[in-house]
Amino acid sequence: MNTYLTLLIILPVFAAFLMYFFRKADNWINIAIMSFVTLFGTVSSLVMLFSQGSEVVALGGWKPPYGIVLVGDRLSLIFVALIYLITYLIAQFGGIERTKVNDHKSGALFMLLTAAAAGMILTGDLFNFFVFMELAAISSYVLIAKGGCRSSYTGALKYIFTGGLASMLMLLGIGILYNTTGTLNIAHLMLRIGLVGDSLRWLALGLVLCGILLKMEVFPFNLWVPESYKGAPAGMKIVLGSILSTVGGYTLIRLYPILIQNPGLIKMLLPLALLSLILAELAAYREKHINRLLGYSSAGQMALVMLAILFGGRMGIYAAIFIVIAHALAKAVLFFVGAHFKKSTDSSMWESYRGLSKTSPIGAVLFTVAALSLTGIPGMMGFWGKLSMIGAGLASAKYFSIGIILIITIVEGVYFLRISGTLYQSNESDVKAKASYLLIPAVILVLIIVLIGFWPGCISKIINGGVSAAERSSEYAKLVLDYLL
């Protein structure tokens, strides 16, 4: 089974190069290649997740503390499965480009991005993480710019500069960590981080977190968010909202054992996350452009995830994982449906979607369900995340944060249902529904959301496994370092 874990990263890269050879051929070959690769990824990661759970591959035969390892434990496999599922849906149904589906250039970049995202999740090495992050970043810069309109370039440039700055800071942090602990292996780092002096640890971790916070779209690093979400092509929006932020969330969850050893850092991050939450959601409250609004909402949701992690404890991690997954699924639905709406009405202002429920009743329902899920309304998946999150906050006696979260949830609920309400208002002008194939993946994802919403028991075992893997540093370290020892 070892090869599967490697294949999860190698195959997309291979596919990316393969596509080059089919550049003269029809697009369907590209779609077939991408679909096959991503479907394979989804299935194999799910199989691994359900069969044995944990898997460690040491690349090149180097023993773990020295070489690069790929770790597929109960936590990372969940996320790999998740991102592969979403990339599969994008590849099969969405298309990278909004209009012409999948030309080979975007396809190759998309595959690279997939590989990089999977790599970021699977890798057990901090520097390797940085490399994958840059890989993902470069391909996403290009993909955002593929949108071709003015805000695509603006967004991509802002993303490049913010991203470049953040990743350089992260590299600096990695350097300091390596200098002080002598290791880059995350598991090893968990054990040895205590050896570093307080202030240096603060500096190093703070710098490393810069890179992760960029992916999580947390406040000072999320200035690129509105423009990029607005300008990116439809498929890339989903990647930004559902994959890259998910990966960021995963990394923060993974680093939780390290974070928890730094109460000072947590104290610093808590106001940052709250500020990010407030700013993002209030900005969204006012926003009229649907994609920018969804971008703001992503930033807000990721701030929630960060808060849940900072609340800590089993329940906090549980909430974080749940919210990340729920957000990834729901945001993908929203972008799929949003692209469908955009195609139908040729407008991105949500106020012009009035009366769309008559044209595309299913789309309206899907949008509503996903929006309610993000708000955390019962019956949808997001509810359980929010519920656990509030529980975690109250258990750790962070009453102020909980108050803010509750108020912000109300704001969030209002602006999401405002859009849903607009969809259901009657309107005389009749628009034709176009690109209804975009609704197929949305239906699949909504079914998952509602299934889990009504019966969270069906995945709570898996997520609890992930929680155990994330919460106890000993478990992760033992898994990685006992290998071959």
């Binding site: 000072p220 968010v225 509105p226 006012r286 019962p378 509030i390 009657s426």
Partner: protein, 626 residues
């Protein structure tokens, strides 16, 4: 026996079916709705008396470390509320069937079924989790019904949804605090634990109780959260307004009775004032203030539905006051009033819906004289407002009398006076509605076009009339089945059919009604034994033989409706000027401004954001030297 869980799932499945397959067949979906509610009433009737009934579902929820299986318990309180929900929905469905042909949104049936499922969940659940689920489902489901696809109604429905969200959030926070404290989310066991907690460490129990109370008060439209009520009622489809007013406002009352009242009355160990816990005292006053303010607001209201909504808020105020008294009589009076209010207010809103059905109008200044064309509707409305104003011999009187008795029994004299104000005020604005809609001059358009509603829509009105009068004469028919319910609140008086016991007196409803009827008979005898009458058209008499047309005067101009209580409104102008509504509007406006400024941070060429970044860096580097 069909289990409660099955009933809930059935409702959800029916909702899906009607949403997906029966969008085009409105009448058929209403028939399905009607059948479902009838069936539920039947099931519930079989459940009555079976107070040990218990069921768990084969699902398991893991919340935090609490692994729970959702389950349902049959308790008298929940039974009564859900029975009324189902029965009122059943009655309403006849009305809606008649309504369905006209312009009517197709989304009502599925969402209403969702509401029914949610209300069954709320009323029967044994743990807080399902309670929250049901509670929040109510919010969005009714949002879509109230909006009904109309752009102009969107703001009103949003205000409802906003308050519903606030309530839900408060509920979640409170429930979690309970859950963390007691490691279980079972409603009935945590009640006991909370009583003990409140006795031992009141300051730990206090915030939880406060949050729960606020959450429930928001749903029952208490001041200062009342502003959703008139807006939601006004915008809701005419046949859904009875449900909002009759049922939705009572969810808060249910919550209070379920959890807050037992704990406050049994376990409160804090300060007391006038022999009453401060906590309960404050909220009793809040109830009275709610009803007084709603009354004042109703004086100057020109929209029939908004006026009745304010009336509902005022009645919710009485109920809140009564149940917070905590005495057996108070709770009994409050509960009885809640049930009576369900009946009479639903009936009143049905008559308004009938008027809307025929005229398409809710502005009272544009109506008048409809009684001459719609006698049945008029009679129903008349009996309804008699009940709503708490006038003998209708059912509203009995419960209001009990609330007065409870207040006097606890020596809350100021509250009694305030309630007198609200009650007399109710008579004022209800009469104004009666006059402006049904009496006075009929408009020419209405004279030509309006006629009585079809028989199908009359059925619930007839039943409502019978219920209002019957329960006014024999309140025992409702009080007797309520005995097991009252036993849970520590009262075990056996009720007689027509005598109600109060704290400073008793009331024999049968005799007083008989005497009233005798009085009417005497009056009628005097009337009919005296000389004959002959009928003349209305305009003939007081225009003294002149032809009004010559003076360019139409009957419309002879309808006195606008500014009916202007003197009173003038008196309260100082209060109306600073209304809570304005505060809310201002807050939302400020929120929008803030949102715009924040948008600027993100979209302006981002010096702001880089400055923040620099700040973050400074913090990180500064940490190095700390």
């Amino acid at each position: 026996m069909i289990s409660i869980g099955t009933m809930i799932i059935l409702a959800v499945v029916l909702a899906l079916i009607t949403r997906v397959f029966l969008m085009k067949h409105k009448l058929l979906s209403w028939v399905l709705f009607s059948a479902y509610t009838a069936f539920s009433v039947f099931v519930l009737l079989k459940l009555y008396g079976n107070w040990n009934y218990f069921e768990t579902m084969n699902l398991s929820y893991l919340v935090g470390r609490i692994n729970m299986r959702p389950g349902f318990m049959n308790k008298p309180l929940g039974w009564f509320f859900s029975f009324f929900v189902m029965a009122m929905s059943f009655l309403n469905s006849f009305f809606s069937m008649g309504f369905s042909k006209s312009i009517h949104s197709r989304n009502i049936v599925p969402h209403w079924l969702m509401i029914l499922a949610a209300s069954l969940t709320v009323f029967f659940t044994k743990d807080w989790l399902l309670f929250i689920i049901g509670w929040e489902t109510l919010g969005w489901a009714s949002f879509f019904i109230i909006m009904g696809g109309k752009q102009k109604k969107y703001k009103d429905s949003m205000s409802y949804y906003f308050f519903s969200l606030v309530s839900g959030m408060l509920l979640i926070a409170a429930v979690w605090m309970i859950g963390i404290k007691f490691r279980t989310l079972n409603i009935h066991t945590t009640t006991r634990s909370m009583i003990i907690l409140a006795k031992n460490t009141p300051w730990q129990a206090f915030p939880i109780l406060l949050m729960l109370t606020l959450s429930f008060l928001i749903k029952s439209g208490a001041y200062p959260f009342h502003i959703w009520a008139p807006r939601a009622h006004k915008s809701a489809p005419a046949d859904f307004s009875p449900f909002i007013s009759g049922i939705m406002i009572k969810f808060g009352i249910f919550g209070l009775l379920l959890y807050v009242i037992p704990i406050v009355s049994k376990g409160y160990a804090g300060y007391s004032i006038f022999g009453m816990p401060v906590f309960a005292w404050v909220f009793s006053w809040l109830g009275i203030i709610t009803s007084a303010i709603a009354t004042v607001l109703a004086f100057s209201e020109n929209d029939a539905k908004r006026l009745m909504a304010y009336s509902s808020v005022a009645n919710a105020g009485y109920i809140i006051t009564a149940i917070f008294l905590g005495t057996a009589l108070g709770i009994k009076g409050g509960l009885l009033h809640a049930f009576n209010h369900m009946i009479f207010k639903a009936v009143i809103f049905m008559t308004i819906a009938a008027v809307v059905y025929r005229t398409g109008e809710t502005d009272m200044n544009k109506m008048g004289g409809l009684a001459y064309k719609m006698p049945i509707t008029f009679m129903t409305f008349l009996l309804g407002i008699i009940a709503a104003a708490g006038i003998a011999p209708m059912n509203g009187f009995v419960s209001k009398w009990m609330i007065y008795q409870a207040l006097l029994g606890q020596k809350h004299y100021f509250m009694t006076v305030a309630m007198f104000f609200a009650s007399t005020g109710a008579f004022l604005y209800l009469y104004r509605a009666l006059h402006a809609i049904f009496l006075g001059q009929i408009r020419e358009v209405h004279e030509r076009e309006v006629k009585e509603v079809p028989f199908l829509m009359q059925i619930p009105m007839w039943i409502g009339m019978i219920l209002m009068f019957g329960l006014g004469v024999f309140p025992g028919y409702l009080l007797r089945p309520m005995m097991p319910l009252m036993k849970t609140f520590g009262s075990s008086i056996s009720e007689s059919l027509n005598v109600v016991q109060g704290s400073v007196g008793s009331l024999n409803t049968l005799f007083s009604t008989v005497i009233f009827i005798l009085g009417v008979v005497i009056a009628a005898a005097i009337f009919f034994l005296s000389a004959k009458t002959h009928k003349t058209p209305m305009m003939d008499n007081y225009t003294s033989g002149e032809d009004p047309e010559e003076w360019n005067v139409t009957p419309n101009k002879y309808q006195f409706s606008y500014g009916f209580y202007e003197p009173i409104t003038k008196m309260f102008a100082w209060a109306l000027k600073r209304s809570v509504d304005k505060a809310y509007f201002k807050a939302s406006y400020i929120l929008k401004i803030i949102g715009r400024e924040i948008n600027m941070i993100f979209t302006d060429h981002n010096n702001w954001g880089y400055a923040a970044l620099l700040g973050l860096l400074a913090m990180i580097i500064g940490g190095l030297f700390l």
